[in-house]
């Protein structure tokens, strides 16, 4: 059973502006897939569909659940969506409460919530930050904690919106090492093609609401004409 099964997904923004023009994508369990493409290509819109925050037309199954209203709870527990700006993701007074938010709102007993928070913070190496106020942390630290907020939900699928954006080289390296160790299926949007080359065997290129290429990262990155046609550039 595939982790993500999308068939011919279409979505228009409320103002009528089309964002997705028939997207089909299948991701198998354990795969790491990078989603690249210019700004406005529809990457974030696609990601917001994966746990039903946006609902377009088309067939969509995530972690075995269809995304109708009866299963949204299960889907949201299974999909860990990490937003690009950690200040959006971390909205609680303290780091601990933020990591506890997901499991708490899944209705788990408090003892289990506490266990999961400890485990998630340990997994991202941020155990000492539990009592801290998010505002005073660096972007890199916030990004790690943002990932912990979905690890605590025991998500099977991590959906990351530009995980390396705005990070200094050391924090970027830290995130790469962290993601390398995580066993979950990962779908990440990014403009950082070196990051893609290092961590993602498979790459999907989106442009103007469509998937224009889907294949092995090495092959796609070697195709200069393809990259150029969609405004992508691999630093050399």
């Amino acid at each position: 059973m595939a982790t993500i099964e999308i068939h011919d997904l279409k979505f228009n923004y409320p103002d009528g502006h089309p964002a997705l023009l028939g997207v089909s994508l299948t991701v198998k369990p354990g795969e790491r897939v990078a989603l690249v493409g210019p700004n406005g290509a529809g990457k974030s819109t696609l990601m917001l569909h994966l746990n039903g925050i946006l609902q377009g037309q088309g067939q969509l199954r995530v972690c075995g659940w269809s995304l109708d209203n009866g299963h949204l709870g299960q889907v949201r527990a299974a999909v860990g969506l990490v937003f690009q700006d950690p200040d959006d993701q971390l909205f609680s007074p303290t780091v601990y409460e933020d990591v506890a938010f997901g499991p708490l709102h899944m209705g788990l007993p408090v003892a289990e919530v506490r266990q999961r928070v400890d485990r998630a913070l340990r997994a991202v190496g941020m155990s000492e930050y539990a009592g801290r106020v998010s505002h005073h942390l660096s972007v890199g630290e916030k990004k790690r904690i943002a990932i912990a907020t979905v690890l605590s939900m025991d998500a099977q699928l991590l959906v990351l919106d530009e995980p390396t954006a705005g990070l200094d080289p050391r924090a970027r390296r830290g995130i790469i090492n962290l993601l390398r160790e995580l066993p979950q299926t990962v779908l990440a949007s990014t403009h950082d093609l070196l990051f893609v080359r290092e961590l993602f065997p498979r790459m999907v290129i989106m442009d103007k609401g469509r998937i224009v290429a889907d294949g092995a990262t090495a092959a796609l990155l070697a195709d200069q004409a393809l990259l150029e046609a969609h405004g992508l550039e691999l630093p050399r």
């Binding site: 746990n51 999909v79 937003f83 200040d87 909205f91 506490r114 979905v150």
Partner: protein, 261 residues
């Protein structure tokens, strides 16, 4: 680049710091209620309340002058009662043009001044010895409506983020407000400045609005269904109980003195 909005909380390990936030919230609230219901001109009870605030301040390890100095910020608000000496009927003390200052009015005004002053001191001591997240937790535990606590919590969290954005906007304006070759003063006149400031406020409002939608998405993505939940509430310690009992006894005696004598 963060704006330096001073966090009120001062770390410490004094008895007052270690008290449960619920104890401190209730204690402060009772203190303020007691100060409020005392009759005007009850100077001895006022003195007792003031002495209590000094003792608490000394026990926090912040020093007796600490809250005293900071509490003066509240005095301008007490000026709302400035009309009392002129409007309360009573024995005339002095005339100020067409107005008469009455002794009763003056006593009431002084009482309000003192009451608000000691109340503010106690509130300051509470906020300086309790971290904000703990204060929020205390409010939740005391069964304040969750939505209200959530609003305060978001305000606290995003005040900093919004202030940072405002700081960036003003810096961007400053960076582009150069002087012309003829060395006229930078920027435009008052109207121009007003327009720019108005635009920035509008800009900030829009950003805040958009951010609130993204935050809501982030909450929904993690299972939020319209109800804020919280972790468990531990029982009050013995130290908290005895502190509260002692505090209530003291306040009750003060009130007794105020009303009986």
């Amino acid at each position: 680049m963060h704006i330096n909005l001073a966090d009120q909380h001062h770390r410490g390990s004094s008895l007052i710091h270690r008290l449960d936030p619920r104890t401190k919230l209730i204690g402060t609230l009772l203190f303020i209620v007691a100060a409020t219901v005392l009759p005007p001109g009850a100077w001895l009870p006022y003195g007792l309340l003031f002495a209590a605030s000094l003792v608490v301040a000394q026990r926090t390890g912040l020093g007796t002058g600490f809250a005293l100095r900071r509490s003066f910020v509240a005095l301008p608000f007490a000026l709302a009662a400035i009309t009392l000496p002129f409007t309360v009927p009573g024995e005339g003390l002095a005339r100020l043009g067409p107005l008469t200052i009455s002794a009763e009015g003056l006593v009431r005004f002084a009482s309000i001044l003192i009451k608000s002053w000691v109340s503010v001191q106690m509130a300051i001591l509470m906020t300086y010895t309790t971290a904000f997240p703990e204060l929020l937790w205390g409010l939740r535990a005391l069964r304040l409506p969750p939505t209200l606590v959530a609003i305060i919590s978001f305000m606290y969290r995003y005040l900093f983020v919004l202030a940072d954005e405002a700081l960036r906007l003003t810096r961007a304006r400053a960076a582009r407000s150069g002087a012309g070759a003829d060395r006229r003063r930078t920027g435009g006149g008052v109207v121009w400045r007003g327009k720019v400031a108005g635009g920035m406020v509008g800009n900030l409002t829009l950003r805040a609005f958009e951010r609130s939608e993204r935050i809501h998405d982030a909450m929904v993505a993690r299972g939020y269904q319209g109800e804020m939940r919280m972790l468990d509430t531990p029982h009050l310690h013995d130290a908290d109980r005895s502190a509260l009992v002692g505090w209530v006894t003291f306040l009750a005696m003060t009130l007794l003195i105020g009303f009986v004598f």
